[in-house]
Structure formats: C-alpha cells, structure tokens
C-alpha cells in the first residue's frame, strides 16, 4: 500500500506516497475510520504533497474521510496540496468546505491543536 500511516501523540499521520487507485482510496478511508477509534485519535493529517493529480473521485473521498472522521470524533487536516491540484480541485463543483488544508506538517499540527481545543473560532 502506498500510504504510510504513522501515529504521533493524539494524531494519525497518513502520508500518501504515490497515486492511489480507487480501491486503495476506499481502503484508506476504511482504515482511517477504524484507526481513529483504535488509537482514540483526535486528529488526522493527510499528506498529499506527493500527488500531482487529484481527480474528482479522490477529492470526493478526501471529503468523505473528513466527514467520517468527524463523526468518529477526529478533525482532519490535508497537507501540501500543490497549486495545480488546488486549481483542478475547485473545478469539480464539489463542496470542499469540510476540507481544511495547510502547506506543511507544523501548520497541520498547530491547526489540529487549535481545532481540538474547541476554541470559539470553530464557527468560521
């Protein structure tokens, strides 16, 4: 599997190493949903910086990972979306509002700290 999944304190870090097939994406979603419960994780970081392309299926899956994880009690942050990928993603006419994204891992953990503290900025 081309996704490395690491555990760091309360967070799960899933680093996607290369393009994923549709099946692998679905597997990733299942695995993360499961791991959140097993590790009692409060946050997930998904690193997509190795991806040059994110098609609409992957984009939709990322969105559903975020929503699924939230139902399981964890917030998700996407890391390292490339400019071209970002441009492509906003053209899928997909509601990407649930996706939170930052550029590097530091920012991701900082954002997760903030999100899981339940501070008033949540409403944005």
């Amino acid at each position: 599997m081309s996704v490395a999944i690491l555990r760091q304190a309360d967070y799960i870090i899933a680093s996607i190493q290369s393009d994923l097939s549709d099946t692998e994406v679905v597997e990733l979603r299942q695995e993360l949903a499961e791991l959140v419960g097993r590790y009692r994780a409060r946050g997930i970081v998904i690193d997509v910086s190795a991806l040059d392309v994110i098609d609409s299926f992957v984009a939709r899956s990322l969105r559903s990972i975020v929503l699924t994880a939230r139902l399981r009690g964890a917030e998700t942050v996407i890391v390292g979306i490339q400019p071209d990928v970002a441009i492509a993603m906003v053209q899928f006419r997909l509601n990407l509002k649930p996706l939170r994204a930052v550029l590097d891992l530091d920012a991701a953990t900082a954002l997760l700290d903030e999100l899981t503290q339940g501070d008033p900025e949540d409403g944005e």
Partner: protein, 319 residues
Amino acid sequence: MSPDGRDQMAADTESQTAEVDQEESDKQRPAERSDGDESILLELVSYLRDCRTELREEWARRISEADLLDVMEDDEIFSEATEVYDNYMDALETGSVETLQKYARELSERIIPRGVDTDEVLGIVLLLRDVLARSLFTKYQDNLEHLNRVLDAYEPAANRIAVTVGVSFVEERDRVIHDQQESIRELSTPVLQLRERLLILPMIGVLDSSRARQLKEQLLASIRDNRATVVVIDITGVATIDRTVANHLVQAVEASRLMGARTILTGLSPEIAQTVVDLGVDLSMMRTVGDLQGGIEEAERLAGYGDGVADDSNGDDDT
C-alpha cells in the same frame, strides 16, 4: 506646371496601357521572361534615379494631399520620403529587400509610437509605386512594347517591396503590442509581502478572464513560495467584473484555502458589489472587507499579529 492636366493625361494612358499590357503580356511573357528583365530593371532604376528630385517631391506632395501621415511635419515627411525612395531604388536594383526591410522596421519603430496607422503606411508605399509607375508611363508612352517589358520588370519588384514594407510595419506593430501586453501582464499582478506569511495582491485595471486566471495561478504560486497563511486581494482599482471573473475569484479563494491560506477580498466598489449580487455569484465563503486598511487589519488579526503595531514601537524602547 499644371499637375491636374498631367495627372489626367497620365491616368488616361494608364488605363489604356493597362488593357494592352494585359493582352500583350499573355502572349509574350513566357518567351522573354528572364533575359531582358535584368537590363530593363537597371535601365528603369537609372531613369528613376535621374528623376529623383522631381518624383520625390511629387510623392511627398501626394502624401500631404491624401492627408496621410498628418502627425508628421512636412519636412519630416520629405526627409523620410527621400530615405524610402533611395532604399526603394536599391531594392529595385538589387532585388534584395533586406536593407529595405531593416529600414522599414526602424521607420516603423519611430512612427508607431506617434500613432501612424497601417493604412497610412500601406497608402504611402502604394502612392510611391503609383508615382513611379506613372512616370514610367509618361516616359515610354510612345513605345508600348517597351513599356510593357518595363512594367513586367517593375511591377513584381514593386509589389514585393510594398508587401515587404507593409509586413515589416505590421510585424513591428505586433511586436510593440506584444511587448506592451507583456509588461502590462507583469505590472498588473504584483504580489507584495506585507509581513511574514501575509501577502497583498493589489489589482488595478481591467480584470478579464485571462487576467483572472493568471491572478489565480500567481496567487497560488506565491502562497506556496512564501508559505503565506493570509492573502489580501484588493480590487479597488478594478472597475467592473463579470460572471466568469467572479467565478475565477471564487475559485482562487477556494483553491488558496486548499493550500492553507485564508483570503480577504477588499475594495469592492458599489457597482461590483451590486453586479455580484445580481449575477447570483455566491461569495458567502469569502471574507470581504470594505477597504484595504480594514483588510490589512483583519489579515494581521488572522495571521496572529494582533494589534502588534502599536505595541512594537513601545515595546522596543522598554526592552
């Protein structure tokens, strides 16, 4: 001298001989194409050189009569005309248009910024062609056969010259337009770093869809390069936007969010605000602030600088 009478006469001759030329040339052209051409061309070039002063004046006069080049002074036209005339002769004589081409480029470079149009340039070159052709008619009108051969030699060369000059002018103008577009493009979307991780994009001028797309790409590239977390796009200097552009803006903001940056849009004019509402573009996910000042304040707050400006100046002294 009565130019009208002469013109009239010459014009008559022209129309007559043009017909004859048509018939004759159909019969004669294949046979004596190449051998006579060279010497005839030389002959007519030397004749035209002899009449240089007269023909040049005639040409300059007809340029002013036709109201061409009205941005230029008469003596200026005359000196350029001299230059063109001599180059024209060289091109006729040698059959090589390179020098003329070079000169035409330089000339275009000089006159384009002064607002000379393509039709004027083509007009004056064709005028010179006519003036010369007409003088050839007057000289050879008694010997129709010879006139035909002279014209056979002259016309293709003259056409080639006219095309060269016209094309040089248009190319030069295209180049100028291209350069200007380039510099407008570079000027039009500067990305300024106000503080660490805080960028400002002031947009000025017409925001069309190609520029909006460019804005989007530049915005995302600079977010990545500067690791920006907050971007202020100021569109105070933009007069109107349409649906496509509004959607590009929405996409730009959405895409920069995917790269971890929050975007603040400032300076929407009343017209743009109403347009956006009328178009039904959903800007609800955008932060919009009335003016750039407010936008920067908001951006500093978002980027975690708080109201650090006043504190900094005091704090430095104390510590």
